[in-house]
């Protein structure tokens, strides 16, 4: 075990640990892809990685920069069309875990990746938009969000609902007919928040080593719910860090 790691590394390792071996995971690019590949190379060798480019069961030996790098197609069990990955694989609920990022997130795990500030047609900041996220959020067995925690990100009300979490609270997903379990877990650079089974509110349940509850509160734009017992997670193991850094190095190396 090493004390010499960044908070981003801690976040990625915590996210990887969240993935159980043998499950199928819909992976977005960036942190989700890094975490999923870390899990696959460490404790979850039979994790099935699904990329929206149509790669089912990709087993990249280096981190792709995009969700459609050649290494994903080369190592996949099957490459299917983009309509097929959404219609036959995601939509019917075949994917256990969906891994999403966020530009803004509220207490019910609703996600914005579309616009910030101003009006929709005249925004302050124009973000990339939805991509696969709305249907990943709707249809996966559960959703894990990875996002750095700050007052800019964790806000009381998202400017735009790109991907719905628990909406306005209990019963909301059922009323909309959403079949997936929603954003049960949010992993940040400070700790882990879990959706309360009754209130649906994101609740701080675990801190990364060295982080305090007050620090998390200070980075949250609403009165943060905190579990009665907040555990502290294990720091990254030497093995986890070694693998993670080797993976990151492959990304920097290009291809």
């Amino acid at each position: 075990m090493s004390a010499d790691y960044s908070s981003d590394e801690m976040m990625t390792v915590a996210a990887a640990r969240q993935l159980r071996d043998g499950t199928a995971c819909f992976v977005g690019i960036g942190l989700p892809s890094t975490a999923a590949n870390l899990a696959r190379v460490t404790h979850a060798p039979n994790l099935v990685l699904i990329y929206e480019s149509g790669c089912l069961g990709a087993k990249p030996d280096r981190l792709p920069l995009s969700i459609g790098d050649g290494v994903l197609a080369d190592t996949a069990d099957a490459v299917v069309s983009v309509p097929e990955v959404f219609n036959y694989w995601l939509q019917p609920g075949r994917i256990d875990v969906g891994f999403l990022g966020a530009a803004q997130l509220d207490r019910y795990g609703n996600i914005n990746t579309t616009v910030i500030g101003g009006d929709y047609t005249d925004p302050k900041v124009r973000l990339p938009g939805a991509g696969g996220a709305p249907e990943i959020a709707a249809s996966c067995g559960e959703v894990v969000v990875i996002v750095r925690q700050s007052l800019r990100t964790f806000i009381d009300r998202v400017d735009f609902v790109t991907s719905v979490g628990y909406g306005a609270g209990p019963g909301y997903r059922a009323r909309l007919g959403l079949r997936g379990g929603g954003p049960k877990t949010v992993i940040t650079d400070l700790g882990v928040l879990t959706a309360d089974p009754v209130t649906c509110e994101l609740t701080l349940t675990r801190l990364h080593p060295g982080v305090t509850v007050d620090q998390v509160r200070a980075a949250t734009g609403w009165p943060l719910a905190v579990a009665d017992e907040v555990s502290t997670g294990e720091p990254p193991s030497t093995d986890e860090l070694t693998v993670l850094r080797a993976l990151e190095a492959t990304k920097k190396a290009g291809v």
């Binding site: 480019s53 920069l65 995009s66 050649g70 929709y120 990339p128 938009g129 939805a130 709305p134 909301y172």
Partner: protein, 272 residues
Amino acid sequence: MAKLVSLAEGVAELVRDGDTVALEGFTHLIPFAAGHEIIRQRRRDLTLVRMTPDVIYDQLIGAGCARRLVFSWGGNPGVGSLHRFRDAVQNSWPVPLELEEHSHAGMANRYVAGASGLPFAVLRGYTGTDLPRHTANIRPIECPFTGETLTAVAALRPDVTVVHAQRADPAGNVQMWGITGVQKEAVLAARRSLVTVEEIVDDLDPVPGQVILPGWAVTAVAHVPGGAHPSYTQGYSVRDNDFYRAWDAISRERASFEEWIARHVRDVEVPA
């Protein structure tokens, strides 16, 4: 049977001012060379359609070719934002850009409907999001058997779709493999189509994972080796991730963008 044309001829004949144009290719096989030819031929007022308007559309938008963008994810994958896209949306530079925005699942199904000759497609999608508020092309639909409410999206019917592929034969049969995304649907949904290829070969030996577009379903084929760069062509090239990273700095300022377009697109000599 598809016509064999030069890239310049193909774009001149098939892409017209004001058209709805889809350049597809999901990370892989993006028809960059054709996009550059559209810039060189100074097309205007295009409605650009594409699931992932990445660097190729950042260039077309920055060059002033587009009036409208129909898309589901506009970023530089793994790198960050598209600065020309942002500048157009936030500051109307060089011309205002209207947006119609969807999810990937929605866009994919809109192409499927277009390819299928149907006016709409049905999916479990968009539910609970703010996306349907901003376009008339997403509507609820009730299942006539269960009464359940699902989502309908309007079919996409581009005037012309442009894709890049590995190979074609002299009859214009097109063969592509690797990640083939939504290209078959985009071509079949369009009124006209142009396919740029790495090679024209006498016989298309079958390849695992291949998608074939019969020549009678394609309007024109142009021989454009390397036509996907900085995207890639499985079996011919690898993704130039360094260029995607470099684009961030090139595109950040209007001046550096314009200089790059002038040098690498407008002033490039191409065979007629």
